[in-house]
């Protein structure tokens, strides 16, 4: 299972394990419950109809008789499962994906035959600029190049720093170590003005370039760390066989550091996916990404919990999958890059 990978990467088997006492066990369980409850609350709420979200706590979701008159099952004698099924819905997700902002739900409104404002009631609504569906696509458009570009550029530089001899090799790398910690805020204004001059504010290349620049110090640092631990003999025998740097780089080094690239890619991907500040400044509303869309919803429609919870969960979906499927690489990447930007 996925959790096993974390334990493998983090813990060696221990001998003479002290039998855990009851107090420790209870303490751990309490902390874990506190840690989980907020997320469970979000998940449960995102599947409840608005009328119930606003009138009953999510922790009473399994109580089929509470809530206002209108939320009750028409047949009071219906079975428990029957009643329960009417108290959960995927409407919130449909509304969030399409960007529907009316009083009812998107599906109801379309079924009634009167198209809601700005909606076509077909699949094209999934890419409606106000919806999370479009934001999901925009997030992908931002994230994929912003992950590939810095890694590509960093691989070459990392190779030079670990296996090539040149003047200032050490000094430049020390500066790079320092650059990792520079806060994004320190560069926003000049870059914004520079992009304005180039006329690319509000376009995807603007964020790609910015993320590439900011991703580089950490990417080079991490790749260089793993490249420089490769055994020296590899390089010497390659040299004796007459290989040059390019051949060594592409045929020997690249295949060997794939795990490091995987960790780095996951880290960078999630960093960009979860970023708000850079998208806010350089993309804004012209190409809304998921984090932007959600932060907008928080401030503009305060109490629309049904949409907010669904939208938030949609934005967490991909990171969660990555986390549980690739936990080992994920943890490794996070650990090494925690101070970035």
């Amino acid at each position: 299972m996925t959790t096993a990978t974390l334990s493998k990467s983090l813990s060696k088997p221990r001998k003479n394990r002290e039998p855990s006492n009851l107090g420790t066990g209870i303490g751990i369980v309490i902390i874990l419950i506190i840690w989980l409850i907020p997320t469970i609350g979000l998940l449960v709420t995102s599947f409840r109809p608005l009328s119930l979200i606003n009138t009953t706590g999510w922790w009473t979701a399994l109580d089929v008789n509470n809530g206002p008159e209108t939320a009750q099952h028409p047949d009071p004698n219906a079975g428990y499962v029957e009643k329960l099924s009417t108290r959960f819905t995927i409407d919130n997700y449909v509304d969030a994906l399409t960007g529907y902002r009316g009083t009812g739900t998107y599906l109801e409104a379309c079924a009634s035959g009167i198209k809601p404002l700005g909606m076509n009631c077909n699949l094209t609504d999934l890419v409606n600029p106000r919806g999370m569906g479009r934001a999901f696509i925009n997030s992908l458009f931002v994230t994929v190049p912003s992950t590939i570009l810095p890694i590509l550029v960093a691989m070459f530089a990392a190779y030079a720093f670990s296996w090539m001899d040149f003047k200032g090799r050490y000094a430049i790398f020390a500066i790079l170590v320092g650059l990792q910690v520079v806060p994004i805020q320190m560069t926003l204004v000049p870059v914004l003005r520079m992009f304005a001059g180039m006329g690319i504010n509000g376009t995807f290349p603007a964020v790609w370039l910015f993320h590439t620049g900011f991703g580089l110090p950490y990417a080079i640092y991490m790749l260089r760390n793993s490249m420089s631990t490769l055994p020296k003999d590899l390089f010497e025998s390659a040299y004796l066989d007459g290989a040059d740097h390019w051949q060594v780089f592409t045929k020997i080094v690249m295949p060997l550091i794939t795990p490091a690239i995987a960790s780095l890619a996951i880290f960078q991907f999630l960093w960009v996916w979860n970023d708000l500040l850079v998208s806010l400044v350089f993309l804004g509303g012209s190409k809304p990404v998921m984090t932007y869309q959600i932060s907008n919803m928080v401030t503009s429609l305060g109490a629309g919990w049904h949409l907010l919870t669904a939208a938030a969960f949609l934005s967490m979906l991909l990171p969660m999958i990555v986390f549980f499927a690739l936990q080992k690489y994920f943890v490794r990447g996070m650990m090494a890059g925690a101070v970035k930007g």
Binding site: S7, I37, V153, P183, Q185, H245, L276, V281, T291, S315
Partner: protein, 320 residues
């Protein structure tokens, strides 16, 4: 050049290393080095960078000449009527709030992370427990903001749908507006930060604890040491270097923190921190001079840690 001599002899034409390096160096210069220098320059100019900051001074008001943006950045949030009002307003200013964040969040994440790392070290389902604590690291600050806004939700007089107020009212107390009550709200935001970053601290500390040789623990146990003594007199001193690394990492992270505050309160109700204030000046108010001055103040706080980072790196290299 500790390692240069250790490099294998390779055929290397002049300038080849620079071909590998240049793309990276150019991009970093354009997007990090040049903007940093430019930011410092802009911080001494007016709102759109066309004249010296001194020209923005108004007659009859205090003025620091070319440092005018810094005067604004440092003193505008303060109420300097008397010593007492200055002191009070400092603690609701972005700097005061950042100090609260530093003290509480760093202590909270490192403390809980350390305790949890030690506790789960002794249980069977260690990996699962750690995964649960680590999970919030995968979520965006924005997502976490929504999650916790709902926890803190302030309902109506009939019903509390936020779990925290439901518990409070269930115990017979009045519901609390967690996010608008000063100074409580900043601490409620810090809780979100702790929730997100404890997993990070725990993971680093946990691997340090596991690297302590089992024999040392065994020997002290035979000598009759209690679990707490083993923790405080053996484990903590041995992993002290790791604890310091974790603390400095967290300090840097807290200083730069933006998203939680921006999403949950927008910096209103006295919750501004340096990073959100910078964003407001720069973006909402289009005051580039003031915004960059705040950014420069922020990096002044971070420079000691940059130096530490480089020193640590130099030491590591010397040991290789």
């Amino acid at each position: 050049m500790a390692r240069a001599t250790a490099l294998p002899v390779m055929k290397q034409k002049m300038g080849v290393p620079w071909l590998y390096l240049l793309p990276a160096l150019i991009v970093m210069t354009i997007f990090i080095v040049y903007p940093m220098v430019n930011t410092v320059g802009l911080s001494f100019q007016n709102n759109d960078g066309t004249a010296s900051a001194a020209t923005t001074c108004r007659e009859g008001e205090p003025c620091w000449g070319v440092m005018e943006n810094y005067r604004y950045a440092l003193t505008n949030e303060l109420n300097t009527e008397s010593v007492q009002t200055t002191w009070q307003s400092f603690w609701t200013s972005s700097y005061g709030n950042n100090i609260k964040w530093l003290l509480v969040m760093v202590t909270g994440t490192v403390g809980i992370g350390l305790i949890f790392a030690v506790l789960v070290d002794r249980i069977k389902r260690e990996a699962l427990a750690k995964a649960i604590i680590f999970m919030p690291m995968a979520i965006s600050f924005v997502g976490a903001g929504v999650i916790w806004k709902f926890v803190y939700n302030y309902g109506t007089s009939q019903v509390q749908t936020g779990i925290l107020n439901a518990i409070i009212t269930g115990l017979g107390f009045e519901p609390v507006a967690w996010l608008s009550k000063v100074p409580l709200n900043t601490f409620m935001l810090i809780v979100v930060g702790i929730w997100m970053w404890t997993g990070f601290c725990m993971t680093l500390l946990s691997s340090a604890i596991k690297s302590i040789p089992e024999e040392i623990i065994e020997a002290s146990r035979i000598d009759g040491a209690t679990n707490f003594e083993i923790f405080s007199k053996i484990q903590v001193p041995i992993i002290a270097p790791t604890i310091i690394v974790v603390i400095t990492t967290m300090v840097i992270n807290v200083l730069k923190l933006f998203d939680i505050v921006y999403v949950m309160t927008g910096g209103n109700f006295g919750t501004n921190v340096i990073a959100t204030r910078m964003y407001t000046e720069m973006y909402t108010n289009a005051q580039y001079g003031r915004g960059t001055a705040i950014a420069v103040i922020l990096i002044l706080f971070i420079i000691p840690f940059i130096v530490m980072n480089i020193r640590r790196f130099t030491k590591q290299e010397a040991m290789r």
